[in-house]
Symmetry: C2
Subunit: 230 residues, 2 copies
């Protein structure tokens, strides 16, 4: 039975912009597993209700249904131990967790300021009110006000990427000579941006840019056919 990945989509079925879903796309590809994807919108809660919760990514792998990107990555590592490892062993698994927490808070927390309006613009009509209401409540202001100071956010992004930049000056991937789940975790954020925004996030000579290019080069044909900018 083919693995099924339920992914967030915009107005177009092939606008797959969730950073968490990108982590799993990369992870499935890393493991060399065949999978099909199902486009979901924010308000398609019924489509993934079988998972017992309401957020994508959801992975249906035979009888197992797993939600939450970290849990899915751990499931793939456990269920397919003979495929290339996502973590490089127990220490690598434990050490990967900080990358998740750093991306989820520091990196996403900055990028969302750049992307909130763009995400809204790319959503399916049926999602637009839901997104605006939940996010404006969370941000305490309108999407447009929240995303207004682009220049400042780009400066902030450059600043918060300092430790990542330093690491990638010394090695091609966070995982060393080859990428690991830590790379996909951070790259998810850049894929998120790439799917909805035309703003160049990084300078071309930035080690983070070069690393991003290396990870883009790893995408399979199906992923490359999805809608994105840049």
């Amino acid at each position: 039975m083919t693995i099924k990945l339920y992914e967030l989509a915009g107005a177009d079925d092939d606008r797959r912009f969730s950073p968490y879903c990108w982590r799993i796309r990369y992870a499935l590809q890393h493991k060399g597993l065949d999978f099909e994807t199902i486009a979901c919108r924010f308000t398609d809660k019924h489509v993934i209700a079988f998972s017992g919760q309401d957020k994508v990514p959801v992975l249906a792998d035979g009888d197992e249904v797993v939600s939450d990107s970290w849990a899915i990555a751990c499931h793939l590592e456990r269920a397919y131990p003979d495929r290339p490892s996502l973590f490089g062993g127990p220490a690598g698994l434990a050490l990967s967790r900080f990358y998740v927490d750093w991306a989820d808070t520091v990196l996403h927390g900055t990028l969302i300021r750049l992307l909130a309006s763009d995400i809204h613009a790319h959503l399916h009509e049926k999602d637009k009110d839901y997104f605006r209401e939940t996010r404006e409540r969370r941000f305490g202001t309108t999407l447009e006000a929240f995303s207004s100071d682009q220049a400042r956010t780009l400066q902030e992004l450059k600043r918060i990427l300092t430790p990542l930049r330093r690491t990638l000056q010394g090695q091609p991937y966070l995982g060393g000579d080859a990428p690991l789940y830590a790379d996909y975790t951070v790259m998810g954020a850049f894929m998120w941006a790439r799917c909805v925004s035309q703003v160049p996030l990084l300078e071309s000579a930035d080690p983070v840019t070069l690393w991003r290019s290396r990870l883009l080069d790893l995408l399979d044909e199906e992923a490359l056919r999805l809608r994105a900018y840049g």
Copy 2:
């Protein structure tokens, strides 16, 4: 031949406050290696001139002289492969690098605002002018002005620790069930603070505080005899 670790000291020989030296103390202890330490001051450049550079930590291990804490940790891992691993394998080694860069920039960059005046107060007389001049040039202001807004720095510290806090909510150490070099890298910063400052950095129920306590409990008797607060 006993391993020798050259460490930064304050006015008192047993005030060993360098965060980078603490990383190596923990690493040596983790490896179960006997070592002796030599107290150096900032202006004792001649004492470590044999290392071909002017910064501690310097490790003299038989014929090998290694400087830079990361290089020393890699040396220990390579030279003592049968002792407990600091990285848990090649993936763990690569994944540890971001912790170094995060601690060096984000964590130290915030803590130094809290500690600059306290460090100066604890220095040997012969180091005071050197420290004041080099740091005031780097900070672009006086040590006292730089360290003045303690309440704000403590708020900032709480904020930048968000990803670390999240990770440590889910696992006892960054390395998982037992500490690895990544833990010692971050802990170095808290040891730095502990050696010179009496200001409580963290709330008692913070997962980071609990992790810090676990790492303090691992210190050997000699390390516990060194001068520190808290």
